[in-house]
């Protein structure tokens, strides 16, 4: 049939592999956000000795290429060590799928980012971060770029939602230009906390809203 996707993509779209959630995941990550478009959650089980990914699952709130890439990336990562898995690129995933329409890059890259973030999450939680760089304002801002602002459809940094960031003695304070009773305030706060709390030297994150 004349779909814009090839047969491999359609096969993964129709029958996605490794669908679901791991309640006892060793590492997990969510990329994207429901308010702005596609979203992928990815869960890992890692062998503590060999660092091999023994189980991997994903959930998708997205279009065909998003679902298909989630499916292929979990297949590619399963059985690899975390060091091998984090090197898997979007290009490799796309090639394994026999190619994706170029306009769909942004939907499919989320799954690749989710895999890397889940591995990073695992490493941070298990004290495996090799280069222990002290958290700076810049690092915090970089991470906040992954938190989407549902009002604008842009990330919270690009949409000028982040008024101020302060990092001091393991405490990160983030001032957000949004009243606390705003309908999206809590969702943004939760996402921001999730992104910053796992940093190795961060003990506490305080999110402040505008008056």
């Amino acid at each position: 049939m004349p779909f814009p996707y090839n047969d491999i993509v359609l096969e993964h779209f129709k029958n996605p592999r490794n669908i679901g959630k791991l309640d006892d995941a060793d590492g997990k990550a969510t990329e994207g956000s429901p308010a702005c478009g596609d979203m992928v959650s990815l869960y890992l089980k890692v062998d503590p000795e060999t660092k091999v990914i023994t189980d991997i699952k994903f959930e998708s709130y997205g279009c065909a290429s998003n679902i298909a890439t989630g499916s292929i990336i979990t297949e590619l990562a399963k059985g690899k060590t975390i060091d091998e898995a984090k090197k898997i690129t979007w290009k490799e995933a796309s090639e394994a799928l026999g190619g994706l329409p170029s306009i769909k890059v942004h939907c499919s890259v989320l799954a690749v980012e989710a895999l890397r973030s889940a591995i990073q999450n695992y490493e941070e939680k298990h004290g495996l971060v090799k280069e222990k760089v002290a958290t700076t304002e810049e690092i915090v801002r970089k991470r906040l770029k992954k938190v989407m602002n549902p009002i604008k459809g842009l990330d919270m940094v690009a949409s000028n939602l982040v008024k101020e960031v302060e990092v001091k003695d393991g405490v990160v304070r983030i001032a957000i230009d949004l009243p606390e009773n705003h309908q999206f305030a809590n969702a943004i706060k939760e996402e921001a906390l999730e992104k910053i709390e796992s940093l190795w030297d961060v003990e506490k994150v305080i999110v402040e809203f505008a008056d």
């Binding site: 779909f3 129709k14 969510t30 478009g37 979203m39 959650s41 709130y61 997205g62 279009c63 549902p150």
Partner: protein, 388 residues
Amino acid sequence: MPKNYYMDNAAATRLDEQVLEAMKPYFFETYSVATSEFGYSLGIEAREALEEARSRMADFLGAGHDEFVFTSGSAESSNLALKGVAKALGAKKGKHIIVSKIEDFPVLYSARTLAKEGFKVDYLDVDEHGFVDTDMLRSLIGDETILVSIQHGNQEIGTVQDIESIGEICREKGTLFHTDATHTFRRIPLDVRSIKADLITVSAHTIHGPKGIGGLFVRKGTPLAKIMDGGFQEFDLRGGMDNIPGAVGFAKAAELVTEPENARLKEMRDRIIELVKKKIPDVTLNGDHAKRLPQNANITFHYVEGESITLHMDMYGISVSTGSACFSRSLEASHVIGAIGGDHERAHGSIRFTLGRYNTMDEVEYVVEKLQSIVENLRKISPLGKQE
């Protein structure tokens, strides 16, 4: 080919055989152009056919024969309305234009082009059902305002505006009023003797007529400049080859739309809404229910993405459309759902069903049945909407 369940009639419709039959003689017998009427008799016949089609089109709108201009479709009609008025009045009266935020692209982008050329464009807000704010309209119209363009029925969410009141406001304030009636023409009553519109966009592609033919009602005396140069066709308002088979086909297509047909579309529309609400949890109807195009249903299925739904539907032979950003070439989510206060999430999972002459109630049942299982399956793989 497997059976097709086509419910994207706002985008294009299947041609009615009777329309094709009416058009045929103007391809094979009277194939000359109307402008050759002073040269040979075939030209006279062509002229007669064109003018008869024009009279019939004007009649459907309650307009005079010389108030209807054929164009290549609704995009050209709306371009002519906005840019033609801007060209005629921009220097004389003022450079202010008002359009609603939920207009279709020909109006929206014509306004954007005019804004680049120095016109001031105001975009009217709509409420959560998609109705324009008439108080805001009143307050925005000033001495410099040359045109208000507010659609009749919405292309995505089906909301039908009160163009009678809007026309009154514009008339009272002394500004011209254009309405894009692409989705309402022949589907809901539209008569220029009661509606004070000066310009009305219509098209054949939404009513089982041919593609590539549309029209613009131009009320007598409306200042309008030509934007397509060529010959002196269409009262010297639109240069270019007369599309006589198209004009004849358009008039035939308009004639074939009947009240009972519109009532039948409305029944199917209401059945879709009723069945979906009954069978599928967490859905939102987009647009107003009462003041709605008889052929349009637009529903958001929360926690899932629209392109994934349409692709699965397509595997069952079902054609529908979505406001999801993933579906559009521009990767922008529906500006209409944005304007009615919906976030990206609401556009992301929105599905538009638009019905036509060839749909049946059995098809409606089939489509909702498939939709139910597709949404259920997609929700299973979605990280959203699950009980923790």
